[in-house]
Amino acid sequence: MKAVTNERIKNITLALLASTIGLGLVVGLLNAPRQPGVAEQVLSMQTHLKLEQPVTAVLLAFRGYDTLLEIAVLVMAVIAVLILVPPRKARAAAPITAGPAPSPLMLWLLPRLLPVLVLIAGYLWWAGSSRPGGAFQAGTLVGAAAVIVLLSQQMRPPRLGRIWRAILVLGLLCFLAIGLLGLLWGQAFLQYPDSWAKALIMLIELTLSLSIGLCFMLLVLGVPPRRRDRFPGERS
C-alpha cells in the first residue's frame, strides 16, 4: 500500500517536473529573440556540391562529422548489445524454431516482396542527392527486409563472421577513410574534391546504408549465434 503511495507521489512529482519544464520551454520560446538561421546559407552553398537536396548537403557535407559520429554511435550500440546479450543467451531467448507452419500466402508473397524492398531501398539511396531520402532511410529499409526474411523463413540470423562484421563497420570506416583522404589531397579533413564530391557522397551513403541495415537487423533480432560462445573476433 505504502509502495503504491510512494509510486504515486513519484509520478506526480515527475508530472509536475515535466510540466514545469514544458511550460518553461513554451515561455522561453515565446520570449525568444529570433535570429536568422543558416537555411539561406545552406541553399546558397549547396549548388557548389551539385547536391540538390539541402538535407543531404547538411548531413554529408556541412555537418558530415556529426553524421560520422552518429554512425559510430550506432555501431557502438550494436557492440553494446553484443556485450549485453551473449550469443548463447540470445539463442535461448529467440523463439525462432518450432511453431505452426507459416502461411502459404506469406510464403508466396515474400520472395516477391523482397526485390521490391531492395528496389525501394536503392531508390531511396539514389533519391538522396536530389530529394528526400538517403542512407539512413535506405539502410533501415534494408534492415527491415532482412528482418522480414529471417522472421518468415524461420531462419536464424547469419553467423557474425568476418564478412558480416566487416559490413557492420564498413560505413564508418569508409566515411573515415574518405575524410582522411581529403587530408592527404592537401585539403581539409572531411573535405571532398569539388569534382568528386557527389560521387564520394554517394559512395559513403551506399556503405552507410549497408552498415545501418545490418545494425538495425542485429538490434532487432538480438545477437546472431556463433559456433562457440565467444565475442566476435576472439581466438582462443
Partner: protein, 100 residues
Amino acid sequence: MLADVLTLALVALGCWFFLSGTLGLLRFPDVYTRLHALTKADNLGLGLVAFGLLWQAPDWPTAVKLLLVWLLGVLASTTAAHMVGRAALGAGQSAWRAEP
C-alpha cells in the same frame, strides 16, 4: 474536368468503404467477422482512393507509384489478414454463431 469528376466519385466511394470497414471492425462480434469486414473494406477503399487520385497525377512516375502503393497495400493487407486468421484458428479461438 472529367478527371476531377472521376477523382471526386472514386475517392468518395473509397471513403465510404473505409467507413464501413471501420464500423465493421467496431460492430462485428468476433475476430473472423471483423477480419472479413476490415480487409474487404480497406483493400477496396485504398484501391478506390488510389485510382481516384490517379487522374490528378502530374507525371507517369507518380502514377506508377500510386499503383504500386495500392498493389503493395492489397498484398500486405491480404497476407496479414490470412496470417492473423490462421493464427487465431491455430490458437483455437472459436467463431461466433448467431444466437438461436
